[in-house]
């Protein structure tokens, strides 16, 4: 079971095939919406369903570039702005905070750490109405800023809890050497510690981005104009209005997955590391 024995020969082939079959079953829903987005509306409703589109139909994608109110590329851009904003705030605030928590002892350290842990468990339902009132008061309601501020509250505690471990594992000799070279606490932190903790910073940036990208509750509650809404809220709106227009809906969904897929392909090791660090998904 836990042994390092490498399996060879016939058993290896059987297990490998079985693994691929399991993967195909698990990922079938994803495959299915990609295929559906490339079919015509008539073909989608055909019985028996076609596994590969008979005629490649890209009009579901094209139609939405033209369609004013439900322009998915516009929504995509909104989501991108919101996610980048939330990511920047999360990283800028979480990197120094996690360093402070990992390397210093000060009054209230435990209390603050507890606070960050607790915020990770909060349900959005508790925050929506008060945030809604707060954002109205700040005059950022119905602007991307509201969603950015709210999404960063997911990224910050997650990032602090992950990065704290990275900073804690950096040997103090490294920091001492920086002091001898004439660094003070802040320059040592910026020039020496951040570069060493870079993989951790990457994990935080990626997850903060992904949390914001996947968010629906904040985006749809704090932004009401369809034109300004993120892509997840766009899908939701679209479902409400054109409930069964599956060719458009699935095309919308595929576009939403693209950045996630790219991040997954190019940064898989960061994702595994982020997932195993005890994260609660937003």
């Amino acid at each position: 079971m836990g042994d390092e024995k490498v399996i060879r020969g016939g058993k290896n082939v059987v297990l490998s095939v079985l693994a691929v079959v399991l993967l195909c079953v698990l990922l079938f829903p994803v495959f299915w919406i990609v295929v559906t987005s490339l079919k015509t509306e008539q073909e989608i409703f055909r019985v028996p369903p076609t596994i590969i589109p008979e005629k490649l139909n890209l009009s579901s994608y094209a139609a939405q570039v033209e369609n004013g109110d439900f322009n998915m590329f516009h929504s995509f851009f909104n989501s991108f702005v919101i996610s980048m904003g939330a990511m920047v705030i999360s990283v800028v605030l979480a990197v120094p905070a996690s360093y402070g928590i990992a390397k210093y002892k000060f009054k209230g350290r435990k209390m603050m750490l507890l606070g960050f842990l607790v915020t990770q468990m909060l349900p959005v339902a508790v925050l929506l109405t008060p945030m809604f009132m707060l954002f109205k008061g700040m005059h950022v309601y119905n602007t991307p800023i509201a969603a950015i501020i709210a999404d960063a509250t997911i990224g910050i505690p997650f990032s602090i809890l992950i990065l704290k471990n990275y900073f804690a594992s950096i040997p103090k000799e490294l920091e001492e050497a920086a002091y001898i070279d004439g660094c003070n606490r802040f320059t040592a932190f910026i020039r020496v510690l951040i570069p060493v903790a870079k993989p951790g910073v990457m994990v935080c940036a990626i997850f903060s981005f992904l949390y914001a990208w996947g968010d629906l509750a904040y985006g749809m509650t704090f932004i009401i104009d369809q034109q300004k809404r993120p892509i997840t809220a766009g899908i939701f709106n679209f479902m409400g209005q054109y409930g069964t227009k599956w060719s458009y809906l699935t095309a919308f969904a595929v576009v939403t997955i693209i950045p996630v897929a790219l991040i997954f392909i190019f940064m898989q090791k960061y994702i595994i590391s982020g997932m195993t660090s005890g994260a609660v998904k937003g």
């Binding site: 120094p96 360093y99 925050l127 929506l128 009132m133 997932m275």
Partner: protein, 300 residues
């Protein structure tokens, strides 16, 4: 001993707080304040008219009394618990089996296991749409497969019937949860020393015996944290249910979170919505205490 070492390095202890303060203040304003505000809201009587007014009528515990007499709230509470338990059991078992399977070293074990994380990464709105499509009555492939296998004779209204809608949502959520369970248990498995298995096999222990005598007990901390984190994450489910059924049909799939949202943002009964959210919060915090205790052991 550790502490004296730290002290040597950091003479100005309270400098540390300067690093933490910006993030802490941010969270205090945008999360801490809303939590307090939500408690206050639930003790008032706030509607659209009084939302922006300075004076909001005080209602005491009336909102809480009201919601506990509201059959939809009770239904939501039961649903949330049922949903959470079903999801936890299913995703844990499947995740565990997959972790054991991929813990064997065959040619493609590592890359395939990596690809199995995809469901966890996909935005929940998309997952909800995907399963809504698969569970669709006429358009859904699930009905087609079941019909062609001869299991059902006519299409089932999976998500539009009160009997099956919750089941559909559970399936979607288990799909999201499998990778999370699998990867955490996989990581836990790698921490079990190989020597234990070697000596067990020398002692003539079978595979089943080894699993129950070695793997399971040594995996206990991992299992605990997987289940607690899974509970917290599943119990506060919102997006998935909101997109798949919106709590319907006839309130049969409302969770505490979606019902709270409906009360606040569709019926504009802000105080009732806040009260429901606070009930959700209290349950999460009770479970959260276990989580904090587990991480505290890790800290020290």
């Amino acid at each position: 001993m550790n502490q004296t070492k730290k002290k040597k390095l950091f003479k100005y202890d309270n400098v540390g707080i300067l690093f933490v303060l910006p993030a802490f203040l941010y969270m205090l304003v945008f999360v801490g304040y809303p939590i307090v505000k939500n408690i206050i809201l639930s003790l008032q009587d706030v509607t659209v008219r009084t939302l922006t007014a300075d004076h909001k009528p005080f209602a005491g515990l009336q909102n809480y009394i009201d919601i506990f007499q509201d059959p939809v709230f009770v239904k939501s509470l039961v649903n949330t618990l049922l949903f959470t338990v079903c999801c936890l059991v299913l995703q844990f078992i499947i995740g565990f089996l997959l972790a054991l399977f991929f813990n064997q070293h065959f040619s493609v074990s590592k890359p395939v296991r990596g690809l199995m994380l995809i469901p966890w990464m996909i935005p929940i709105t998309v997952t909800a749409l995907m399963f809504k499509f698969i569970f669709g009555t006429d358009v859904g492939i699930l009905n087609y497969i079941l019909t062609s296998l001869g299991i059902i004779s006519e299409n089932i209204d999976w998500l539009t019937s009160t009997n099956t809608a919750l089941f559909g949502i559970i399936c979607a959520n288990v799909w999201i949860g499998i990778p999370f369970n699998m990867i955490l248990i996989s990581t836990g498995l790698t921490t079990i020393p190989k020597e234990l298995y070697e000596s067990a096999s020398i002692d003539g222990a079978g595979k089943v015996q080894t699993f129950f005598k070695i793997t399971l007990p040594l995996l206990r901390p991992t299992i605990e944290s997987v289940l607690i984190l899974g509970f917290i994450y599943t119990f506060k489910v919102f997006d998935l249910v909101y997109v798949m059924t919106g709590g319907g049909p006839v309130n049969s799939t409302h969770m505490l979170s979606t019902y709270s949202y409906k009360l606040s943002f569709e019926m504009f009964k802000y105080s009732k919505g806040s009260a429901v959210a606070n009930v959700l919060l209290v349950i999460l915090m009770i479970v959260g205490v276990f989580y904090l205790r587990a991480t505290k052991e890790e800290e020290e």
